[in-house]
């Protein structure tokens, strides 16, 4: 039976192959396009580093940027990245820069190559970014503390990305990488920074969702609503901003907080998605984080600029949460504008101050 079956299979296979020839001839040109496209792309594509190639363990910050890199990194598309001896991007040194920007991957300009990076665009001031992907405000505050003396007399801009910074302030890890975080001390709502757990070992309590970055939208939805989480994150944020202000005051640095909205907050469809993920849809407000930071900055008397005052959805990459080249141009203009403006002695409504110090027409909160 087996022998007969094999013979039958052989004969019918030959017939079937002949019948497939016309189909193969039709398919062939299209398949060649697929093959040659991949071959050419593979031949021309530069080598790139994965995430672990960009960072190295640090016992204080959890991780820090690898210095002296000149490579590419993949974030939807490849972008060229160069870092200085300290691991920061940007053509200018910290000492020669007038503006120092602290933040996460937004401050580090992930997603665009060096020539489009806001810190490298030609302008009236030199800008130094101090940031790397994944940083929360806790790590950024530690860097403000570390670099305190280098900030003397400068404009210090602190980016707060609503997508994950506020939530990650409370988390002991990011995708398995241990990092300092803040927790309540239980005394009068005060907070403390915890870093005793920071080692090079992987944090064991990580969900697949966090590893793949699927957590941040539901958390953002919660933060935009009146939830237990939103109360905690803004309380933690206030603690961190107060600490940052204190450090900057000691070195006569002008501190300005700039919020970075997530792209989902900027479109109707995005807001609807966040609302469905929110813990309390009835209280959902996509502007809640801005309003909350607004209130915090009033209380702490820090200047604040809302990212929604100069960013729109056209400033963001598609299929990625980061800014595109247009976004970087807008950010650079905002920073130059900020440096040229007089310090606001009291909190403003998040408006971008004009060079003369008056509020720009689109914002109108009383001070």
């Amino acid at each position: 039976m087996g022998f007969l079956r094999t013979i039958l299979a052989l004969v019918t296979t030959l017939i079937a192959l002949v019948l497939l020839v016309p189909i193969a001839l039709v398919i062939l040109p299209f398949w060649l396009v697929s093959l040659l496209t991949r071959t050419i792309a593979r031949a021309l594509e530069p080598k790139f580093l994965t995430r672990e190639g960009l960072i190295q363990f640090d016992p204080l910050f959890g991780w820090k940027a690898r210095p002296n890199l000149n490579t590419h990194h993949l974030m939807v598309d490849l972008f060229h990245i160069r870092t200085d001896a300290d691991g920061w991007r940007g053509e200018h040194s910290l000492a020669e820069s007038d503006v120092v920007v602290f933040g996460d991957s937004f401050a580090a300009g992930y997603g665009v190559s060096d020539r489009h990076f806001f810190a490298n665009l030609r302008g009236p001031q030199k800008i130094k970014p101090v940031g790397i992907g994944g940083y929360s405000m806790v790590q950024e505050l530690l860097w403000v503390r570390q670099l305190k003396e280098s900030l003397r007399g400068k404009l210090v801009v602190w980016f707060i990305y609503f997508g994950n910074d506020l939530y990650d302030n409370l988390m002991p890890d990011l995708r398995g990488y241990r990092k300092p975080f803040v927790r309540e001390t239980g005394e009068d709502g005060s907070w403390e920074i915890v870093s005793s757990h920071v080692t090079a070992e992987r944090w064991p309590l990580v969900t697949e969702g966090r590893i793949e970055g699927q957590n941040h939208l539901p958390r953002l939805g919660e933060i935009c609503s009146e939830t237990f989480l939103s109360g905690r994150v803004f309380s933690a944020c206030e603690y961190l901003l107060e600490a940052g202000k204190e450090i900057c005051q000691q070195v006569d640095a002008r501190l300005v907080i700039v919020s970075v909205p997530d792209a989902y907050q900027l479109t109707d469809a995005g807001r609807q998605t966040l609302k469905t993920l929110a813990g309390d849809p009835d209280s959902f407000d996509a502007r809640r984080p801005d309003n909350a930071i607004d209130g915090i900055c009033r209380r702490v008397a820090i200047e604040f600029v809302s990212g929604q005052s100069f960013l729109d959805i056209g400033c963001y990459k598609t299929n990625d949460c980061h800014w595109n080249e247009k976004g970087h141009r807008e950010v650079a203009k905002m920073l130059w504008h900020l440096k040229a403006s007089r310090p606001q002695s009291v909190y403003t409504s998040g408006a971008l101050p004009t060079p003369s110090g008056r509020l720009s027409p689109m914002e109108s909160s009383a001070v």
Binding site: M1, A9, T12, T13, L20, L35, M75, D77
Partner: protein
């Protein structure tokens, strides 16, 4: 096996490679057409002009090229893939399987009066060797599955199944699905 569709990630380098190929193809076609129509020799270089004009579009109008790229995948490649897959499977079913089925079956439908209980093989933890079980490490290699398949065909006395290999390869070739295996650490933190 390279699938029929282009990579779903439309990175710049992939877009430019695709567009360069299309420009080259159009340019060559123009030159060949001029040659076939016995046009003056100088017109045969018009293909080069077409290439020079078309190719830079990938740099100046990236959005347009991106739309064309996705249109190629969604309107051409995937549809061709569906048709080719359907035809191939029907040919296999109506020719090969129908013919080999005529040779009888080893499937025991009725018992010989006694129990049909089969003891479990302690080594493989299976009661039968008929099902094809891919070994994960081998199957993930580009041609590792063929080796595994051949091993199974001989061990399970299904030598006739080797005849299906060309069709399996063809089905992989005309597939529009791409196995994405980006590592967990390939995307950055944010």
């Amino acid at each position: 096996m390279i699938p029929l569709s282009l990579p779903p990630e439309d990175r710049r380098i992939v877009l430019r490679s695709f567009w360069f190929l299309i420009s080259l193809t159009v340019g060559l076609s123009v030159s060949v057409l001029c040659w076939l129509l016995n046009m003056p020799p100088w017109t045969r270089a018009s293909g080069l002009l077409v290439l020079v004009v078309l190719a830079p579009v990938a740099f100046s109008k990236e959005d347009v090229v991106r739309r064309l790229y996705h249109a190629w995948n969604n309107r051409i490649a995937r549809r061709l893939s569906s048709v080719a897959t359907a035809i191939t499977l029907r040919i296999c079913l109506l020719l090969i399987f129908a013919a080999t089925g005529r040779a009888g079956s080893r499937l025991q439908i009725r018992g010989s009066g006694g129990s049909m209980w089969a003891g479990r093989d302690a080594a493989t933890n299976r009661t039968t060797s008929v099902p094809f079980q891919a070994v994960a490490n081998v199957a993930s290699a580009p041609n590792g599955w063929i080796r595994n398949y051949l091993r199974w065909a001989f061990q399970s006395q299904n030598v006739w199944a080797i005849c299906l290999i060309p069709f399996l390869c063809f089905l992989r070739m005309v597939s529009a699905e791409e196995q994405t295996s980006s590592g967990a650490n390939i995307y950055t933190l944010f």
